[in-house]
Assembly symmetry: C2
Homo-oligomer: 590 residues x 2
């Protein structure tokens, strides 16, 4: 082989030994008639010294520029006193070259490999150079190591890795599908999967008992926020297990990965919180527990107040009035910040952001500073102070609207203030959120929607669910980490009569159900086992583990916000002949 | 948990113990007032006995029909003397039920799970039932185990599992792409990858050193033979390794999988054979070495014969005359079979199939029976007998045409006769075929084509390749198993000047090259390491390992020959609204 060691693995254990190294010239310095090259490979850097005594190697070294590909052989020796580099594993040694061969040249790259300030456009266009940067190497290595751990864990637990189709049928609900015209069936289209949901349920009906797959999924959404048209899911399904079994297995897997890859011990077991509690305390079904602030319930108190803004919200159906106390907020938050927060909660539909500065609790009403104080009764003010346990210097924000608006607005404000005031405590806060409602009421469409998906099993019997859908609880569970949902799933419906009832409640009639899910309904009739599973969003999980800011930073070849690949220039125009074969034509020439 | 053991794992080690089992009622028999149920899960069958004494269990058991889903708890006891079933791991025991719960009912399935004669259409339509059959369970388990072994091997060797995009750019050469219209870039299309070839080379340029991925690939081909529109590839690329390093690593991986999964020891190392030798001896670049017949070269002998059919073939450029001796063929092959073989070789372009029956070698010309004997000189007949080492009773077939036709026809005939006459010796014959030509002459287009792909490195320097492309040897290697190519790859070109020269020889001009491979040519300029790799066809390999007849039998949800899914009814028509969003319309309504 051309190489005896990776550059980054050469250390004092190899002192005196000969090594063969291959890599890239990260930096070259000429100093005192000697050439120094930092040679880089995926494991790190090593300093190579080329002395004029080794004439051929020296002549070659003189031609070396940044990013030339080199092969070096030489002897490992200690660095001279005082020149150690404690940041490198190889920092105590250097390699005195006996030979140096230029395997390939390089033009001057558009950026240096240790540059931190490169525009994302340049990074994506020259992705093969961007990925040479040590930070990107480490991220993709962390990804590979984590996925490898998942696979080994699941293999050991008897899960079978089974592949499901990519060319499949359009998803009946959910986001927009990517479509693939069929050449052999003119006028018809495959869809790329948004998830293998139905296939994994079919695999349970086929008796495979424990399935997993690390699988690409696709959504043709508008790429707001940090989304990608194709993303990777760890998809899991099991038979004959209940929620406790499944969540136990899964947190064992995540705990193991954190231990093995990051050296971090996560709690055992993960805390569990009901959806209703999460919404009440944090205004979110994926609360970040690292932020020591909670919402305070005031709906009951405000029902009888004269202040219309609060009373109307408290008295409307599905209305809520709640407070968010910011400890020390009177001093820590400027007037400008508070104004900005008013704009911020507006994005979530809140029509304003009332607040009270708590100057001196001993003075009662007089110690509170806010235009709304005069509108509130003594009882209300007392309740606010008592329930929030506010002390002098605190600031209390209020939300009063439909519960959804209050939760979204104060839930987001809680996160924002937590970050702005640097309140985050601890590194990792995993959590299971459970006991989700089966259905959400859709005001616009005036009907029930499935909160998870229409195959989720309710906890109760068919009749109970039909009689009171609003209070039906789903056997669903989400894994939340630091305020991000990293996985979610449920026990599925395994009896045809329950599936039919849920479709009915969702307003999916028999003909629609047959058309969209006919094969699933058929399959339920032939001996479907009780089953359930979940799926993890791998990109987002790895992003959190790697401390990256975007999922693009943990994917080798991501796309831009307009779903394009700057490296290969995809998508691109195609030949008319190809369109003809697929029985399609363009509507307008671009 | 609902279960203490899998059904198929209950054996005499558990005698006297209580077990909890879940599974499907494979068969129910009532005998002597007692009910017997063979309970089935993915690990096998166990016999459950339900006695009328356990009244509730018995009442439930009376309602059980085929494929009902059951939960049973009971005690393991020996079967009565003389009722052992040596075919089952659980064949010496039975479970006396204390409780039996019906978890789900089943309608009468369209076929029994032990039926072997089900039409493929029914199997694919009810795939979730077909997959319950033990033979299908075993195949998919074998697939999962093999893939798991590959991953563990590659992880241990420092390979990084890195994902490449599915929504990518159209492939410049090769088969037809599946296209995906872009909504955000109207009039433009992504293509689904035929392989991640360029991405894996870019990952080497990015310094990842060792990459692998088990990845879905797509080809919109007409599905002759045993092809699928989507198939799975084990894709591998390495830097700083040569052919010997790579093939050594890879055969280690395959040997390990055969050992671990099948308990089979493959030879170490695998034999290696040059392309030229494989074509000469077997008429194939993927010879099945288990068949003890070889082609005999006669081109030189026939050049001076008067017999036009042979002489013309022998004297034309790239012509060949060769023989295939069938030991004992005079008796073993009927006149009808020989006629059928004439038709068979016709499919490969052969215009006829001359043959000689060797009745008595001691009689010279008189001992040979064939219409062509009178056309051949004594010298030619002697050469045929001597070179084929024919003995009495043998039959010798002849091919005379362009070498390609002779090789295709006699190569295929060799396989067919080998199977027809049951000549296959041994179970497993792996082989590396190496030293492929760089280029094949395309008579139709009057130009050179790349035999592998245009990124394959030649063995020689640029000038040598340019001067004599016909004799340029590629640094390519194919892994062949039992006459099937299961993997192939090459050392790639890593210098821009060589890549440009090869493009020129292939008639790809600078503008085309820039358009199609611009990003690769750019990347080559910035310090590309020497690299190479290969890809394995996972479906085909697993098919061979499982002893299945079709790759459809080792895929969970395959498509039909017309690229349709009978289970989900994909592809299907889509809404006009969706087409409008994608800026396409149909040419004609189907």
């Amino acid at each position: 082989m051309m190489r005896s060691h990776y550059c980054g693995q050469v250390d004092e254990a190899l002192l005196g030994q000969e090594v063969q190294l291959c890599g890239w010239a990260h930096r070259r310095r000429d100093h005192g008639g000697v050439i120094f090259i930092d040679l880089r490979d995926r494991e790190g850097l090593v300093q190579v010294v080329i002395d004029p005594d080794t004439a051929e190697a020296f002549a070659n070294a003189e031609r070396v520029r940044s990013e030339f590909v080199l092969r070096v052989h030489g002897r490992v020796r200690p660095r001279p006193d005082g020149t150690d580099n404690p940041n490198l594993r190889s920092g105590k040694i250097e390699v005195l070259a006996k030979g140096l061969e230029i395997l390939n040249r390089a033009e001057t790259p558009p950026f240096q490999m240790d540059d931190e300030e490169i525009s994302e456009e340049v990074r994506l266009r020259y992705r093969y150079l961007d990925l040479r940067r040590p930070v990107m190497q480490e991220r993709l290595k962390l990804r590979a190591r984590t996925i490898s751990h998942f696979r080994r864990y699941l293999d050991a637990q008897g899960f079978l890795d089974i592949e499901t189709p990519m060319l499949t049928k359009a998803t009946p609900e959910g986001a927009r599908d990517y479509l693939v015209p069929s050449r052999t069936h003119p006028g018809e289209f495959f869809a790329l999967p948004q998830s293998p949901q139905l296939f994994k349920q079919l695999l349970m009906m086929a008796g495979f008992d424990r399935y997993y797959q690390i699988v690409r999924c696709f959504r043709d959404e508008d790429l707001r926020a940090d989304r990608q048209p194709e993303f990777t899911q760890l998809d899991i399904e099991t038979s004959f297990l209940d929620e406790a079994d499944i969540t136990g297995l899964m947190e064992g897997m995540i705990r193991g990965a954190f231990r093995e890859v990051l050296g971090v011990e996560l709690p055992e077991p993960f805390p569990r919180m009901a959806f209703a509690e999460a919404m009440s305390r944090f205004g979110s079904d994926k609360p970040d527990l690292r932020i020591p602030m909670e919402l305070t319930e005031l709906t009951d108190v405000m029902k009888t107040e004269e202040f219309k803004v609060f009373a109307a919200a408290a008295n409307q159906p599905r209305g809520r009035v709640a407070a968010l106390k910011v400890p020390g907020g009177s001093e820590k938050l400027s007037r400008k910040q508070i104004d900005d927060y008013t704009g911020f909660v507006g994005r979530y539909g809140a029509k304003g952001l009332a607040y009270i500065k708590v100057n001196d609790v001993s003075k009662g009403r007089e110690g509170l500073q806010s235009p709304i104080v005069k509108n509130l009764s003594d009882a209300a003010l007392e309740a606010i102070l008592a329930r929030t346990a506010a002390v002098n210097g605190d600031l209390v924000f209020f939300g009063a609207d439909k519960a959804k608006v209050v939760n979204d607005a104060l839930g987001a404000l809680r996160l924002k203030i937590g970050q702005d005031l640097d309140m985050i405590e601890g590194d990792w806060a995993p959590l299971w959120v459970v006991d989700f409602p089966m259905f959400e009421w859709d005001d616009g469409e005036n009907r029930w929607n499935a909160m998870h998906h229409p195959f989720t099993s309710p906890r109760d019997a068919v009749e109970t669910v039909k009689a009171d859908p609003e209070n039906a609880i789903a056997r669903a569970y989400d894994m939340v980490l630091n305020g991000t949902e990293i996985g979610g799933g449920s026990i599925r419906i395994h009896r045809p009569e329950m599936q039919t009832a849920v479709f009915e409640l969702l307003g999916i009639d028999e003909a629609q159900a047959k058309l969209k899910f006919g094969f699933l309904l058929d399959a339920l009739k032939f001996g479907c086992p009780p089953h359930g599973g979940l799926a993890f969003g791998i990109d987002r999980l790895i992003m959190l583990m790697a401390g990256a800011k975007s999922i693009r930073d943990v994917m080798a070849f991501p796309k831009t916000q307009t779903a394009a690949c700057l490296l290969t220039d995809a998508p691109a125009a195609v030949d008319e002949r190809q369109l003809r074969e697929l029985n399609i034509r363009l509507r307008r020439t671009p």
